[in-house]
Symmetry: C2
């Protein structure tokens, strides 16, 4: 029986994690749940799974047996074996560190955490022997391909669906609405991640995550457009052999794999892949010119230090402004680029310096828009 804490339980990954728990009531027990503002769903989850600890960003009346606790307390609670980090953006960063410092297993779905603070997270995880198990479909694929392999990796090929606008011209991209950007062709995900998929910035964050998770240098990480989202990523070994992990695009599988690892659990509720029905898997080069967010994210990853944190913070603000219809889709890249250009990077930053860079970038991104100083 694995005892779980789920941070971000009302989000897309959190809800799917609870689906897996429901499928295996004898394998997983929920000890802690934490959510943001969706307290009506959290109340239902608490009633169904009866955790010992709960947290929400808004005030919530709890049953007597459930103790209101901070996310850090939930993440480090002694009776927990595995902490699922299903938050989005930087909010999961300090709870993740708390889980690491308590030597928990960590199933990580929050892309920004490793992108922002990969060096610190990996060093702390080594020090505290905390295993980090990726939930992201691409990293789960790489992790599965590396299973049992001791050879050096020659190349990682991260696949990208390309999002809903991959075939758009730059003039079409200028007219994209928030509603259009929220319609992903292959994946059902949360709002922020869906927009990040449309700008392709998510692949740059994932490359940075992969760099930290698997100790792969950036020059060995390539991105390829694979619009069917069936091949979740590929690993090339030094002998030229390539391994790939494939499945129907559904996050339940990588979530279950991280929860059940090193076992695989038979689960008839998970969709089966029918390759003959899929018929064709295509691979195309990335159009970097039309999706400048991707190169911005890769460049921030390569520069390291506080740059990825600034990128992530500016991205969060730019997406909020875009979803609120204050700015255009191409403005997301412009806001990020301008914020980064104003940043004085710090190498080997402390966590406080990363959080300070994050705060600075949020303010700066907002000012850039409010003062109308975006470069067109």
């Amino acid at each position: 029986m694995k005892r779980l804490a789920i941070l971000g339980s009302t989000g897309s990954i959190g809800q799917q994690t609870l689906d897996i728990v429901r499928s295996f009531p004898n394998k997983f027990k929920v000890i802690g749940l934490a959510s943001g503002r969706n307290i009506s769903l959290l109340a239902k989850q608490i009633s169904e799974f009866q955790p010992q600890l709960a947290y929400s960003a808004l005030k919530l009346s709890l049953p007597d047996k459930v103790k209101f606790s901070s996310m850090e307390e939930i993440a480090s609670y002694p009776e927990t074996d595995l902490v699922v980090i299903a938050t989005s953006g930087k909010i999961g960063l300090t709870p993740t560190l708390a889980a690491i410092r308590s030597s928990k297993k960590i199933a990580l779905a929050n892309k920004e955490i490793l992108a922002m603070a990969g060096e610190i997270i990996i060093a702390e995880a080594k020090r505290h022997r905390a295993q980090i198990l990726p939930i992201d479909s691409e990293h789960s694929a790489v992790w599965q391909c590396l299973r049992g392999e001791k050879a050096e990796v020659a190349r990682l090929l991260l696949t990208a669906s390309g999002g809903p606008f991959y075939h758009y011209s730059s003039s079409q991209l200028a007219k994209v609405t928030a509603d259009e950007a929220l319609q992903h062709p292959t994946w059902k995900m949360g709002r922020k991640v869906t927009i990040d998929s449309a700008t392709l910035i998510n692949k740059g964050l994932e490359a940075t995550e992969a760099h930290w998770l698997f100790s792969i240098p950036f020059d060995k990480i390539e991105i390829v457009i694979h619009s069917q989202s069936i091949v979740h990523s590929l690993v090339e070994f030094t002998d030229g052999s390539v391994k790939a992990q494939l499945s129907f695009p559904d996050m339940h599988l990588p979530i279950q794999y991280a929860l059940s690892y090193p076992k695989r659990l038979p689960n008839s509720k998970l969709p089966r892949l029918d390759l003959v029905q899929v018929n064709s898997l295509t691979f195309k080069p990335v159009n970097y010119a039309n999706f400048p967010c991707l190169e911005l994210a890769l460049e921030a990853g390569r520069r390291g230090g506080t740059y990825p944190a600034v990128l992530c913070a500016a991205d969060e603000i730019a997406i909020e402004l875009f979803l609120a219809k204050h700015t255009s889709f191409p403005d997301i890249a412009r806001i990020i680029a301008r914020t980064i250009s104003l940043h004085q990077g710090i190498a080997n930053p402390t966590l406080d310096e990363i959080l300070a860079a994050d705060a600075w970038a949020r303010e700066t991104a907002l000012q850039i828009v409010n003062k109308g100083s975006l470069c067109y």
Copy 2:
């Protein structure tokens, strides 16, 4: 330093095995070489690799230091670590058993051995702790995908290029010439294997091999047409996750993997896969009606006993007759089907019974053609 014996050294797989030895002179040493009738090439190989033992089907003058030995002697020679079985048809069967009984590692490229005598081979390999390492690209792919995995396999998906005639109608198939059948679209292979790829009988033999090598029941083995020959096979686990092995179609890689296992050796001479250049990987259902050899082979595998040996023997005769222009391409299936229909199968046969069934089938197949008793 691994010490190798290579049986079938002048064939396609044998020559490519020696290419790998050439690339790693400090890792592999050739102790024994055996060939059939190509003694001029064998003489060159002996001069280059200086083995201690050699065999050929025809008389051959050997340097003083090289001892003429039977294939069984070479396969069981104490100074050998790994025996590459690169023969074709049933000739490799008794040398393979000799290698197994001497507890050698066996790199197996000869499809018919496991198809004909899988039960005996696997039981003897267990008894003598002889590892069987597949060289066939499909089985190497499955083996690589299973690496580090302990979970049950839900499904094997063996890929088939479909050969040169996959889009032919049955009337077009009736007119196929030997020269056309010897032109494989993606793989460069020996003559027998090339014709076996054109009739698709090879996939039935490979399914039987996979059944024995990986203990997978036939109902969990599926075949899918993948004309690019890039995805060499796929494994689906019980959680629905699918792993695939991909590479440019070139046998050097699976040969090297079997030779270097458990290591992978960096080898810049092996071709790299460029998925963007490949562009599209397609998967289509098998047209069993046009390629009856495939169902014949699967059925023989499922029935077991002496049936696969009869199938293989009739296939060898049918191919010889086809290449000699005595019979047509569709006659290959007819000769095999008629031979099998006349066979009284033996369950759990001994090796002698398998060899007797083989001899019976060769004679019967010839008689069927000579007496003109093929059913049209």
